[in-house]
Chain length 329, copies 2
């Protein structure tokens, strides 16, 4: 409640002002931002928060924390086929450390530019608890074209982008570095897994292809197995997946070869931020080609069927999972 | 990471599902929400978080915490002349207490209905720190009509809605109940001040009148004195206020009569959530009439002038404030 304090707040706003490149952000000089959607648009809205000690480690680099906070939301826009338009951020910081905040702002700004998603407005406060970064992302789609969870139809193919399980592998290695030797992971494999946990790679490059070819979709944030269950539930269908077809990175393949039971953790663990989608079988080749042209691999892993629930097979045998998906509560 | 945990998350979503009355919220069954603005609209976006121990007391009733979290954002929409369209919420809860959460959801739902601002989507996670409620509010205005901070012009009148200083009075009484006797406050006055701190009353009822008559505006969240300074800065003008004209409640008047120096705290303290606005003098009567018709008092308190900075007078004498405004850092 002092001028020093007020100028502290002003200094924080100044750190973030360069990110507010959208004309409707008014250089963070107004109370609210304006977005002017092209006529005939739907505005796609999503919020997700990350918390120190839950979604990231307190000693993670500040710029990586910022990138993760934005990217988990960008991933949802991607899965919905939406083009990013901008984001709002509420930042509750554990301590007022200008170096940390400057690094945070730099990482956030680089990603905002890379993904074409400028800061529209925000709010920074101090908290006595862990740092909380709550971002609301705003995207645009032509009216009526958002890719829904509920769009899957019996007979559709099930696809997933990229590779599954790297983030949970990276998290396990962070908690138990000695596991790398047991799993026979090279240093490059360890770095790959660590990076995938620290900073996800949202698949915004395939948003347009999803709108063109997918019947349904969502991002994989709580584990492939659990998220496929949510997709099937929303669409009122069943889904079957052959685990051999689930795309794994070299690191994940090496680890599963050394410890076959690890596969369950990889397909049920969270933080993949890949896209799970369904489409008519006739669209698969076109979608995969469009995704490849955008630099993203897409792999067919199963099939939608009439009925309900999910079924997984490995080596022709049904597999049941003790833990369906990651949950934060 | 267990089924019990997952069903805990599912139970929380179920608590909030009844608030997701907007068709674009898809009953919280999809990853993102859709808002379809009428063609020719601007989307107005604002985020503000409240934190236990900073913006509310940890033992405040859960429904009051929810109302405050939503209303501080509704207040910004009101000041911008925007009609609420919906909101996103990131809730980080200190403990997973279903009774607390049910009360929270009830208060939030009642306000969402009362203000016509349904829940569009959200995210609930556990935190080891204080509870954080980060809400992003979405409003709509006809294109190009948002009321800006920067709109004030020399010669404009300065007005404020409602009464100023009640929330800071309520906060002082909460910290030092004995002050009530010193200030000669009746029980009704004490309840008034306490209620104004606990649950703000955003002035969404005057949003349309603001768009019709105001040249500039913002909500008073960090104190009248400091916020007037921000408004003047954004508009590149000076502003002069006669403190005798600042509207005070009976409670605040009684307290200032008993302790005249208290006035400084009332006009620099935060949490008023009134609207500070400027308009051509010829619009004042029409605006006040429209506001009165909507049940909101509006009072002319000063004048915009050429130049920069703010000037306050009391009994004809200039007044300087040691502390300009409340800041959370």
């Amino acid at each position: 409640m002092a001028d020093d304090a007020a100028s502290g707040e002003e200094r924080i706003i100044a750190l973030f002002r360069s990110l507010a490149t959208h004309p409707g952000a008014f250089g963070l000089m107004d109370d609210a931002a304006i977005l002017t959607p092209p006529d005939g648009s739907d505005v796609v809205l999503k919020t997700d928060a990350i918390i120190g000690g839950v979604h990231f480690f307190a000693d993670d680099p500040a710029d990586a924390v910022a990138r993760k906070a934005l990217r988990v939301n960008l991933s949802d826009l991607a899965a919905k086929g939406a083009k990013p338009a901008g984001f709002l951020m509420s930042l509750a910081v554990a301590r007022f450390d200008e170096t940390w905040l400057a690094d945070f702002a730099r990482g956030l700004g680089e990603d905002a530019e890379a993904f074409g998603c400028p800061l529209l407005g925000g709010d920074t406060v101090a908290t006595s608890g862990p740092t909380v970064v709550a971002i609301s992302a705003v995207g645009l789609v032509p009216r009526g074209t958002m890719v829904m969870r509920s769009g899957a139809r019996p007979g559709d193919a099930v696809l997933v982008t990229g590779t599954v399980g790297d983030a949970v592998l990276g998290l396990k290695l962070r908690r138990e570095p000695a596991a790398a030797a047991r799993w026979g992971l090279t240093p490059a494999m360890q770095r790959h897994a660590a990076a995938r946990y620290l900073v996800p790679q949202p698949r915004n490059a395939v948003a347009e292809a999803l709108r063109a070819f997918a019947s349904g979709g969502m991002d994989v944030s709580d584990g492939l197995v659990g998220d496929l269950g949510k997709l099937a539930l929303a669409a009122g269908v069943a889904a079957e997946v052959e685990l051999e077809r689930v795309p794994l990175s070299e690191a994940a393949r090496a680890a599963v070869t050394a410890e076959p039971d690890l596969l369950e953790a990889l397909v049920t663990g969270g933080d993949d931020y890949e896209i799970l989608c369904t489409m008519a079988p006739g669209n698969v080749a076109s979608f995969c080609a469009a995704a490849a042209a955008a630099g993203v691999a897409a792999t067919e892993i199963g099939r939608v069927a009439a009925g309900e629930g999910t079924r997984f097979r490995r080596g022709g045998q049904p597999v049941r999972f003790a833990h369906g998906s990651y949950s934060h509560l």
